[in-house]
Amino acid sequence: MSVTPFLVLSALLFSIGAIGVLVRRNAIVVFMCVELMLNASNLTFVAFARQHGNLDGQIAAFFVMVVAAAEVVVGLAIIMTIFRTRRSASVDDASLLKY
């Protein structure tokens, strides 16, 4: 079974996620797009693991999932706090940390 369709799907998902991060302002949506990119890379890992017939890629995918889960916890907490103080979830509004 060819690995190509998986890679094409993965690339599509990654591109959608990247474009979403760049063009959307809502922090929650940006966050979801980041998740999309992570899962696109997971798909690549798993596809290659399957092709090579060993578990290395699957283990890597597990690591990514664990990190993503932790990141979601911290990220959502930060977004919640920002929303409470500024009444906005727009990433462009939170631009105080600059020159």
């Binding site: 991060v21 760049l22 302002r25 940006v30 990433v91 939170a94 631009s95 105080l96 600059k98 020159y99």
Partner: protein, 628 residues
């Protein structure tokens, strides 16, 4: 080697301790500071006499009294012992320094009585005495250098004693700077000695001198001469001495006439073993001495300031000593002989000038003096003794010493002898001029001047010095001075006189020249009345002499202006070149960082874009490498 004497250090330590006590003691010592200073100087003199008698009574004690104090510098093969040497040469100097020094201390009690900083003055005088004794008692050029710099410091402090006067402060600085030029010669000489002999002690250098090359010997001799020129105000480093007269008159008498300025002569005579190996340096010493003796004498002829006139004369007389020291074994002892008699009569005349100034409200212009002999009989008589001594009036001390030097000069070279003879005539001229303008002629006093004789505390030192000026010639009896110094500088050699001259005919010639000089001065200044202001329209030579023979002008044009131009150039280069490069770099970094800072916008999405772009670039680069 000589006998060791454990108390020798006290000669230096007593005035040094007194100076330290008076400087650190503050106002508490004001009341008795001058007495302590004088007592310290007298104590030093007493110890000097004791040492001198011990030296005289042991004819086999030719190495002198010695004391090794401690190991001063010890680094590998570099070993300097701090030792003192009281031999026949330094013995004479110790007696001169402490003897004349003590008299000047006593005189200063009266002279400085109305100065509120008198205690400080005595502290600095003691400091000078200690440093000068260090200079002559050292047994190593490095320890000698310690005293050498010490007298430089004391001289600086004392010239600038009236520090509220700008001219005094400037003169002190000038003396210090010019002396520094000579000190460079001394420092280089000591370094060369270490490099050549591995030691700088007198004994080590003397024993090593025979093996060195002619070039090294000449270099050592010329460096010593440079050092001597600085300290002894010889041409070309003469310009500081006339300005040094800004100091109080006792200082001029002690430092700038009798003792410190003779340090150069001491150095040359002490280093006779160096000069004997090198004809070139010896000739250079003779030329410097000859030029300076005429130079100083010509300046002395045109000065209306009594102290500057005496300063020109000092320069000239030290020129005589230098000339004698350059001639070699034929005249070393006469150089020292003249140094001693000059110490007496010049200190006498400087103190006499101080006494006159004291009486005339510190007026120094001789055109405002005149007819003082009646009102100041003691000053007049003592000054006259010094006057007759310096012009070489037969029988007075200067007659014997100067005559011997002129004789040795003729033995060396006819031209040098004629120069020295001419100098004697000029000396007679300017001293007679000074004598007439000050003590004889008519009154030309300022309106508020009420001249009076000085107090006894000032006139007693004058009397003692006057007696010494008259009878100083006894040192020549039975050739005592030559025999006394023979262990240090060698036996006196006798040279044939040119043109079939004999000693007697030469003595008569000197006397005739002196009387001609006196006669011309008497004709010029006794018969005509003396104008209150110097006459204009005088000969170019007189104009030049009034301006110190353009010594300062030459220094200004040849050294000061190029030096200033150089420093200005360097400052400009530093400002524009060095600072420009550094500041320019900083400006570039600062400016670009100000621009780059603007990239930090705070917008997360723009950071994300640059991250994505960067990652894409990295991937492309990897691909490019892979495919290539």
């Amino acid at each position: 080697m000589g006998l060791s004497a454990s108390w020798l250090y006290l000669i230096i330590a007593i005035p040094a301790a007194s100076a330290a006590l008076l400087l650190l003691g503050g106002r508490a010592t004001n009341a008795w500071g001058h007495l302590l200073g004088t007592a310290a100087s007298l104590a030093s003199f007493a110890l000097g006499v004791l040492a001198f008698l011990q030296l005289r009574d042991s004819p086999d004690l030719q190495g002198g009294l010695r004391q090794e104090l401690f190991s001063w510098i010890q680094v590998g093969g570099f070993d300097v012992t701090f030792g003192l040497l009281f031999d026949r040469l330094s013995g004479l100097f110790v007696l001169l320094i402490t003897g004349v020094g003590s008299l000047i201390h006593i005189y200063s009690i009266g002279y400085m009585a109305h100065d509120e900083r008198r205690r400080r003055f005595f502290a600095q005088l003691n400091l000078f005495i200690a440093a000068m004794l260090m200079l002559v008692l050292a047994d190593d050029y490095l320890t000698l250098f310690l005293g050498w710099e010490g007298v430089g410091l004391a001289s600086y402090l004392l010239i600038g004693f009236f520090q509220q006067k700008t001219s005094a402060a400037v003169a002190a600085k000038k003396a210090f700077v010019v002396n520094r030029v000579g000190d460079i010669g001394m420092a280089l000489c000591i370094m060369l000695m270490f490099a050549t002999f591995g030691t700088s002690s007198f004994v080590g250098v003397e024993s090593g001198m025979e093996q060195v090359s002619a070039g090294t010997a000449t270099a050592l001799g010329l460096l010593l001469l440079l050092a001597a020129c600085g300290k002894s105000a010889q041409v070309p480093l003469q310009s500081w001495l006339l300005d040094a007269m800004e100091g109080p008159t006792p200082v001029s008498a002690l430092i700038h006439a009798a003792t410190m300025v003779t340090a150069g002569v001491y150095l040359v005579v002490r280093s006779s073993y160096v000069f004997e190996q090198t004809e070139v340096a010896q000739t250079a010493v003779v030329i410097v001495g000859l030029v300076t003796l005429l130079w100083g004498a010509i300046i002395g002829c045109a000065k209306d300031d009594i102290k500057k006139g005496l300063a020109g004369s000092t320069m000239s007389q030290i020129g005589y000593m230098m000339l004698a020291a350059g001639i070699g074994p034929a005249a070393y002892s006469f150089a020292i002989f003249h140094l001693l008699t000059h110490g007496f009569f010049k200190a006498n005349m400087f103190l006499g000038a101080g006494s006159v100034m004291h009486a005339m409200n510190d007026e120094v212009d001789m055109r405002s003096y005149g007819a003082l002999r009646g009102l100041m009989p003691i000053t007049f008589v003592t000054f006259a003794c010094g006057y007759l001594a310096i012009i070489g009036f037969p029988g007075f001390s200067g007659f014997w010493s100067k005559d011997k030097i002129i004789e040795a000069a003729f033995g060396e070279n006819l031209l040098v002898g004629l120069g020295a003879l001419l100098g004697a005539g000029i000396t007679a001229f300017y001293m007679t001029r000074m004598m007439i303008m000050t003590f004889v002629s008519e009154k030309r006093w300022a309106k508020d001047a009420h001249p009076h004789e000085s107090s006894l505390v000032m006139t007693i030192p004058l009397m003692v010095l006057a007696v010494a000026s008259v009878f100083g010639g006894v040192l020549l009896l039975n050739d005592w001075i030559g025999n006394w110094l023979a262990p240090v500088v060698g036996e006196v050699e006798h040279h044939e006189l040119p043109l079939g001259l004999t000693e007697l005919s030469l003595t008569i010639a000197v006397a005739v020249v002196v009387f001609i000089g006196v006669g011309i001065a008497a004709r010029m200044y006794r018969l005509d009345s003396i104008a209150a202001v110097p006459s204009a329209g005088v000969s170019p030579l007189t104009t030049a002499a009034r301006r110190d023979l353009y010594g300062d002008a030459f220094n200004e044009v040849a050294l000061m202006r190029p030096g200033q131009a150089l420093t200005r150039g360097l400052v400009t280069f530093d400002d524009r070149g060095v600072d420009g490069a550094v500041n320019g770099l900083a400006a570039v970094v600062g400016g670009s960082s100000g621009r780059i800072r603007r990239w930090q916008t705070g917008f997360v999405r723009s950071y994300a874009l640059s991250m994505l772009g960067g990652s894409a670039l990295v991937v492309l680069a990897l691909l490019a490498v892979k495919l290539a």
